[in-house]
């Protein structure tokens, strides 16, 4: 059989009944108390080498004992050290071979959907988390739990507009430096492009410096690009960081004595980012509920395996996009 035929046959393999309403973001979903009839195991595919995934790991650590108390089994599979299609795809394949009944997988890019298709084709229940949403659904994933990347890019732009109210206006246009981890990484491009679009819509007087620059995972280059923006752009009012380490940009702005004039916005409420928000160096960071990305996804997968019920009538179950700024950071941080 050729692949085009198989692909057409898809989507019919999994039959779940959908509940009437979507779960409320933010609240932790309830785990069904039913025990599995036969041994059952669930895998979450992730990586483990950065602060964001450390938070994802805490959600996993919390849900694992609960499910194991019921007689299920949950495993964390390290896909490697870098989130890319090859690594994650390899891990999905390995999990299928290893006989997992359900897999929660990272979404490093559209390419991963072919692996998901393979897995669902073999009757494995797959959920997608963290990353892109578009093609996984057609590939048979039961739900996607994560950020609406373009949406949060737009949110970040709105936040930037608000942050720069005091320093830029129609009459006094300002510039924002964009730093992206990679121009070629899909999720980050969504965040970057969403930001640029929305900036144009919401406060056209704040414009980006070129397309932005790429820092390829190097903190040195976050720092140096920030310094370069500061020196080369007199009317710089903001810095937007799409990937990891916005706290480095915040710190660099602060040590240049420009924390008042230049607002730094990024993603994720990691320890370092929270500190910089508290210090007033990072204006805000948009969180994507990393705890829930694992906790919720695994819970829903278990429920689906036991009850045959999907978490939501919709495929896309967004995480709560918490925006952490100086105003609410104390309560947010203590709420964790």
């Amino acid at each position: 059989t050729t692949a085009s035929e198989t692909r057409k046959e898809q989507a019919s393999t999994l039959k779940l009944s959908a509940p009437d309403k979507a779960p409320t973001p933010g609240e932790r979903p309830a785990l069904t108390d039913k025990k599995p009839e036969k041994p059952l195991k669930i895998a979450i595919i992730a990586i483990e080498n950065n602060p964001f995934f450390a938070q994802v790991r805490t959600g996993y650590d919390a849900v694992k004992p609960k499910i194991e108390a019921l007689g299920g089994k949950v495993d964390w599979i390290n896909a490697g050290t870098e989130v890319n299609v090859d690594n994650v795809g390899r891990a999905i394949n390995a999990a299928v071979v290893d006989g997992y009944d359900a897999i929660a997988s990272l979404m490093p890019g559209d390419g991963i959907c072919s692996y998901i298709r393979q897995a669902t084709g073999q009757g494995v229940l797959v959920a997608a988390y963290n990353g892109d949403t578009t093609c996984a659904k057609e590939s048979g994933a039961v739900f996607f739990h994560g950020q609406d990347l373009r949406g949060v890019g737009e949110d970040a732009a709105k936040l930037m507009c608000e942050a720069t109210k005091g320093v830029a206006s129609k009459d006094k246009p300002g510039k924002v430096g964009v730093e992206t981890e990679s121009f070629a990484f899909q999720a980050l491009e969504e965040r970057r492009l969403g930001f640029l679009d929305s900036l144009k819509k919401n406060c056209p007087w704040v414009t980006p410096v070129g397309d932005g620059v790429e820092y390829q995972g190097s903190t040195d280059r976050v720092a140096s690009a920030t310094r370069d923006f500061l020196t080369s752009t007199p009317n710089l009012v903001g810095v937007y960081v799409t990937g990891g380490n916005p706290h480095v940009a915040a710190r660099t702005v602060a040590s240049a004595g420009k924390a008042k004039a230049v607002k730094v916005i990024g993603f994720d409420l990691t320890k370092e980012n929270v500190e910089q928000i508290k210090a007033g160096n990072l204006y805000g960071a948009i969180d994507q509920d990393p705890y829930g990305q694992s906790y919720d996804s695994i819970t829903w997968l278990y429920n689906a395996l036991i009850t045959g019920e999907a978490p939501s009538p919709d495929y896309f179950v967004p995480t709560k996009a918490l925006v952490g700024t100086a105003d609410n950071i104390a309560s947010l941080a203590s709420g964790k």
Binding site: T1, T2, A3, S4, T6, R7, I47, E48, N49, D75, W76, I77, N78, A79, G80, T81, E82, N84, V85, D86, G89, R90, A91, N93, A94, V96, V97, D98, G99, G109, D110, G111, I112, C113, S114, R117, Q118, C135, S182, F183, A184, F185, Q186, E189
Partner: protein, 343 residues
């Protein structure tokens, strides 16, 4: 001496040594997780190394000819992006496939032309073109993936012949062809001669320039093949697929026993090198190793393969000396005894 020779003929080829390492690793893993040796997993393992493996075959030719091509890592994504863009614009699939391979070869030819025309070390030239090709990929894709048409997936991983995914078949066939070319054709011998001693090759009238152009073109073309197969399997051409492949590709070639200064190597070795690396990556997922152990294990296997190869060739000087000394003292004891009697 005889003992050393018999040992050498047993482990006479890098291929045999690698097969041994592979068997050992496989046995160790299979004891922990029996499903490691299931057909499905073995197929996964090969499938995971198709891209790296095919590109490594091309890199193998380049390295054996005494050069290095870092840019292939970017060519994989670029050719796939070009083909996907062409198909999106209505060009027939077969034509786009040929175009991808041709574009890859063209990049190879440009690399070779710069290297040969200016005498700049190929490491520097291709370090530069690596970046340029990455830039071109962004220009074509705008940073976002381009979906490929359904028809292309007929050459993707989901198409199986006798249960084996099509890309794996392509990889194996290409490895065999590459090995035959290297060993049995004039071109293959030229590659090794040019890589070994370009001056000697030139003086013997071998087409040094032509050979170097060819190896770079082959490397680029094979990167195109890899790019297309990857896009076909994934249903999309990624624009990122970048420098993550850089080191594994070179690692496969050198673990496969090729000399980094050129003149020596085997394509079956490259194939086995890729399989070994793929296997280790697969194993640590199956064994659920923690991140740090994954990295440490991977590194250790690379070093171990290198050491094993040296030991096999009897090239570890101090081991040889120790052995020789022991052998001699044994025989001279015997001699002393006989000398004692004769005196």
């Amino acid at each position: 001496m005889t003992q050393r020779w018999s040992l050498r003929s047993a482990f006479g080829h890098v291929e045999v040594a690698l097969v041994l390492v592979i068997v050992i690793v496989a046995a160790v893993v299979a004891v922990q997780v029996p499903s490691f040796l299931s057909t499905a997993n073995l197929i996964n393992l090969l499938l995971a190394m198709v891209t790296i493996g095919i590109v490594a075959l091309g890199q193998g030719f380049v390295i054996m000819a005494g050069e290095l091509d870092l840019s292939v890592a970017a060519t994989i994504a670029f050719t796939a992006a070009c083909a996907a863009a062409l198909m999106r614009d209505g060009v027939p699939v077969w034509f786009a496939v040929i175009a991808a391979i041709a574009i890859g070869s063209l990049i190879g030819l440009v690399n070779a032309a710069i290297v040969l025309g200016t005498g700049v070390n190929s490491f520097i030239v291709t370090l530069g073109t690596l970046s340029v090709v990455q830039g071109l990929t962004l220009m074509v894709t705008g940073g976002l993936p381009i979906a490929t048409p359904l028809a292309l997936s007929d050459i993707g991983a989901d198409t199986r012949v006798a249960g084996i995914p099509f890309p794996v078949i392509v990889f194996v066939v290409l490895a065999i062809i590459a090995q035959l070319v290297l060993v049995f054709t004039v071109f293959g011998r030229r590659v090794l001669a040019v890589g070994d001693n370009a001056e000697a090759a030139r003086l013997a009238g071998l087409p040094v320039i032509g050979t170097k152009l060819a190896v770079f073109a082959i490397a680029g073309g094979l990167a195109g093949v890899a790019g297309i197969l990857r896009a076909a399997s994934l249903g999309t051409a990624e624009s990122s697929a970048g420098t993550a492949d850089l080191l594994p590709v070179i690692a496969a070639v050198v673990v496969g026993g090729a000399s980094l200064v050129g003149g020596r190597g085997s394509m079956i070795g490259v194939f086995l090198g890729a399989v070994l690396l793929g296997m280790v990556q697969n194993a640590y997922i199956i064994l659920k190793l923690s991140s740090w152990l994954q990295l440490a294990t991977f590194g250790a296997v690379v070093v171990a393969a290198g050491v094993f190869d040296q030991a096999r060739q009897g090239r570890i000087g101090w081991i040889n000396t120790l052995r020789d000394r022991r052998a001699l003292s044994r025989s001279s004891n015997a001699a002393a005894v006989s000398a004692g009697t004769s005196k």
